[in-house]
């Protein structure tokens, strides 16, 4: 079983959903984000999503756009993100790591080389925002060979028949983009999720993570119960950004994010 399967199976036994926090690599610098990454599992992260900074994040709202810029300024490259995962794996061999980003840095790295190196570094899954099913053959075979899951995104605009089409060969888990919009803006209501999830479960047996617009402990709890996991991104980055001075990390940076993460985790586990 992959780390992702093992983790979701264990949580199912516990009878709760997963909390998936997100951090942008090298935001605001390599050391701080690695420190944060290493501390996240103890603060309640069940899986972790690492954002790969890209110059043109067209599906992201202002918060993650700013985080990506800080990451790039601090020298983030796809290679450095993999190095960060390697460093994380020295102390944690169980928490699944999923990279989330845009296609061009991967394309530039080389799809086959990237999938191989990512798996070697200890990455479990990848989410490529601008690679719909229609273009996924670019990575599919390489990812499968390397043992990486390509996490499939589905959206409110994905029709029932299309759900079957895009989820046919999905693996790992399914990422439900719960609003039509960019990250960190609107939120889906519990009623929206109650309506959407059965539609998705018709088309797949994989766990479903709910993301985009989840910021409060209450929302995380709701999403992790109706779905199988809640992804929290912009809300954590906002907290981190508020601790920065002139774009640099301060003593409060890591503790502030971890404290918020603990609050989210407590709600998901309650």
């Amino acid at each position: 079983m992959s780390r992702i399967q093992t983790r979701f199976a264990a949580l199912k036994k516990e009878g709760r959903g997963a909390l998936i926090p997100y951090l942008q690599a090298c935001d605001p610098d390599y050391d701080t984000s690695l420190q944060l990454l290493r501390a996240m599992p103890a603060a309640g992260a069940d899986l972790i999503e690492i954002g790969v900074p890209f110059s043109d994040p067209s599906a992201d709202g202002p918060t993650i756009q700013a985080a990506a810029l800080r990451g790039l300024k601090a020298g983030a490259t796809l290679g450095l993100v993999l190095e960060m995962v390697r460093a994380f794996r020295e102390t944690d061999s169980e928490t699944p790591i999923v990279l989330m980003g845009y296609l061009n840095p991967i394309d530039s790295y080389g799809p086959a080389e990237f999938c191989f190196d990512a798996a070697q570094a200890g990455v479990d899954g990848i989410i490529v925002v601008d690679m719909p099913t229609e273009e996924a053959d670019l990575l599919d075979a390489h990812a499968r060979e390397a043992g990486l899951d390509i996490i499939t995104l589905v959206a409110p605009t994905t029709s029932n028949s299309r759900l079957f089409h895009v989820l046919r060969e999905a693996s790992g888990f399914v990422y439900y983009v719960s609003i039509t919009g960019i990250t960190g803006t609107n939120s889906a209501s519990a009623a929206d999720l109650e309506k959407a999830l059965p539609r998705i479960r018709e088309a797949t047996d994989l766990p479903v993570a709910v993301g985009f617009g989840i910021s409060t402990p209450e929302q995380a709890r709701t999403a992790s119960r109706i779905g199988d996991a809640a992804v929290v991104a912009s809300a954590l980055i906002k907290t981190m950004a508020s601790t920065l001075e002139n774009g640099q990390a301060t003593e409060q940076t890591v503790p502030a994010v971890l404290k918020q993460l603990e609050g989210l985790a407590a709600a998901v586990r309650a």
Binding site: S55, S58, A59, L72, Y109, V129, D130, T157, R162
Partner: protein, 408 residues
Amino acid sequence: MTNTSFPLSNSLRSGPDDRGRFGIFGGRFVAETLMPLLLELDEAYRTAQADPEFRKELDYYLKDYVGRPSPLWFAQHLTEELGGAKVYFKREELNHTGSHKLNNVMGQILVARRMGKTRIVAETGAGQHGVATATVCALFGLKCTIYMGATDVERQKPNVFRMHLLGAEVKPVTAGAGTLKDAMNEAMRDWVANVADTYFLVGTVAGPHPYPEMVRDFQSVIGVEVKEQITQAEGRLPDVIVAAIGGGSNAMGIFHPFLDDSSVRLIGVEAAGRGLDSGKTAASISRGRPGVLHGNRTYLLQDKHGQIEEAHSISAGLDYPGIGPEHSWLNDIGRAEYVGVTDDEALEAFQVCTRTEGIIPALECAHGLAHVMKIAPAMAKDQIIVLNVSGRGDKDIFTVAHHLGVKL
């Protein structure tokens, strides 16, 4: 073997394939949220294409509202001054709103209306596409939001005011360098958040399939007219066609009907900015490499890690780090040539055109003219060059004055 015995696939005009690709270029690299919309748009466009009523409606607006056909002007004084090939201007600057942009916008707005969309978003660089879009939204009573880089808002003030007058909301984008690339990102973010009622009216032959194909089809009216007009004037096809390229819609529009006429050289002129090797350029083909941005695979200015670089050009309309995917393909198969012209060369050509022909060209097409000025003198006097004068330069007089050290 005659031309007609070639199967259709031997034509260079048959692209894209059903995945929206021209060779390795093009495609549909968008978030899943947008994918169903692109499929819906593709279907709506095919249905419109097959409907004679749609063609009739478009022809009506092109003739009586846009003002087509646009003339093909023999630039006699310029020809004499250059002392070589005969230079003709395809006068797209005479269209309503002052550029070729309205050809595409008129086509797409009719598609959007058929799809029942009530709100239009668009990106704009120089503001020509924004003005054209705001114009048709005024005509058809649709809500209109235009995203424009903050830098461009500053250097294209007259167009910003025009858009306001036309009832559009202009949103300045401060991300990045505040130019066309950033406006494109922001327009895509708006679209993804408002999919139910909003149509994204792309202004160039780039973006996810079917946009590059659809915009090309609507702009091809330029080349179709040139073919007829030059045959009437000269009894033959031109030797060279030259057009400036940002995203590449005016160039694709004039090139496409000639793709299978191998005797016609097609030259796309990219903005070299301060020089191809200055690091301050917008020449995606000359100085970029293939990658994926804004929904398509194409030549992009990017660093070795795949981060997109800022483009630079004196012309806001050419200030974009990518290019339409069909141009990338035409470059790779060698059917079209792509060259660079610097800011300074374009400024010089801008003045020559104004002085010799009494036509103030947009800075975009001044790039094309600068290349014509390089090649025409060495060509025989019975040879023919057609330059696409894709827009008028009134919007650029402030920029030009600034560079000439004149205070207005």
